[in-house]
Amino acid sequence: MADMTLTLKIWRQKDRKSPGKFVSYTVENVSEHMSFLEMMDVLNEQLIKKGEDVVEFDNDCREGICGMCSLVINGRPHGQEHGTATCQLHMRKFNDGDIIVIEPWRAAAFPVLKDLTVDRTAFDRIIEAGGYTSINAGGAADSSAILVPKSDAEEAMDAASCIGCGACVAACPNASASLFTAAKISQFALLPQGQTERKRRAANMVAQMDAEGFGDCSNHAECEAVCPKEISITHIARMKREYFKAMVFDE
């Protein structure tokens, strides 16, 4: 397939306080083998040559593991592909002449820093509220000393695969952080090491999630559909059960 020419409508915003607006760009010579972020690199090279300000976007690993990349592409966080992050989206999914609207994650709790980058430290504060286990490390324990059923281990691993990208918040019509918070509560609730602080963790993390100004969960399940790790809303159901236990019982 020949190289593509695309029209990009990109949200440009100078800093946190300035009002932003959409600006249209044309990018030529986009190869179908490029990733979406490489296509953005091509655009930025063009802008640098013209002496213009580059479009800021977050990225790091570019292989779907760090959770830095974001972008709402034609109305879908991480683009139309299921189970991939923006950095894993390839240009062969687009056609020559396409118009692509690119927006930042939109949530009061994720303020725009510049252009397409947002401040996701609200997630860090939710983790600080309880997304850990307190273990006084001694010698490494024998791996077979604590037995974990395989199904629990697998489900905990599914939850732990959350990369903290925030696409769940971006996709949620209410900008709820339930899927992220639930994944982090769930991964510990399923494992023996997470039991000691179990109730306190659920209570504190939900309280922090609410304090950050995320919306409520209306069970649209859009989060699961856009999550690059395909984390199931069954973890949200578990978060609720954990929270109810924390409401009823003492630690």
């Binding site: 709402v72 299921h82 927006e103 339930s178 939900v206 309280a207 609410d210 859009e222 699961e224 809303i233």
Partner: protein
């Protein structure tokens, strides 16, 4: 040990309240529909005797009514809180919004819950004012004097615009319950992937049965009187 910072008005507990009250209201609607089916017999005495059971409950009826009002209030206040919170949580909306498909349950039903809910509330006021507090006719059955509610109901449903209104609102109720029934189980943390689809399908059936049941009665009376 300091108490855990849980609250009945946290995002999680609030939705559980909404789910419990919503499910209770569905239970109320099922009983209500069964009662309405007596109207289809066209037997005025049978319906009046049935409605007289409630009227003769005395103060116990007030207890039931107070409970019902409380459930509605909790449901409505928490519903409005969710809707307002959503606007606060996303002050700048997207230029382009697409449905992600796949496992998503986002539908016209799920994104219009607050609109169908508010319209149900408006209807509810009209419904109670026009029937419960409507014209009081008397009838005597087996020597006992009681309210002729049947006459009032038939009078109401002889008006085409009232029948049309019921048909529209009951269709909206169907949409509310299509997402609501399944959603309530998820809000209560009761769903597992292996029966999530089954609960959703049961919810769709309940929505259709309640909507058709409630809109059929006015149409039937309109056509048969």
């Amino acid at each position: 040990m300091p108490a855990l910072p849980t609250s009945l008005w946290s995002s999680v507990a609030r939705k559980a309240l909404m789910a419990l009250t919503g499910l209770a209201l569905i239970g109320f609607l099922i009983v209500h529909l069964l009662g309405n089916l007596i109207l289809l017999s066209g037997n005025a005495d049978a319906f009046n005797l049935y409605s007289n059971i409630y009227a003769s409950m005395g103060s116990f009826l007030y207890v039931i009514e107070a409970g019902l009002v409380a459930f509605f209030l909790i449901h409505i206040v928490s519903g409005i809180t969710v809707a307002l919170g959503k606007m606060k949580a996303r002050p700048v909306s997207y230029k382009k919004v697409a449905n992600a498909g796949g496992p998503s349950r986002k539908t016209v039903s799920s994104v219009t819950m607050i609109y169908t809910g508010v319209l149900l509330l408006v209807f509810l006021v009209f419904h109670v004012v026009s029937l419960k507090y409507g014209a009081h006719y008397d009838t005597t059955i087996g020597g006992e004097k009681m309210r002729d509610l049947y006459k009032l109901v038939v009078e109401n449903f002889q008006q085409p615009y009232i029948v049309a209104g019921y048909v529209i609102i009951m269709t909206l109720l169907g949409f509310h319950l299509r997402h609501g029934f399944w959603s309530a189980f998820q809000s209560l943390g009761a769903l597992q992937p292996r029966f999530s689809n089954m609960i959703y399908i049961i919810g769709v059936f309940i929505a259709i049965i309640l909507a058709i049941g409630f809109l059929f009665v006015p149409i039937w009376i309109f056509l048969n009187s």
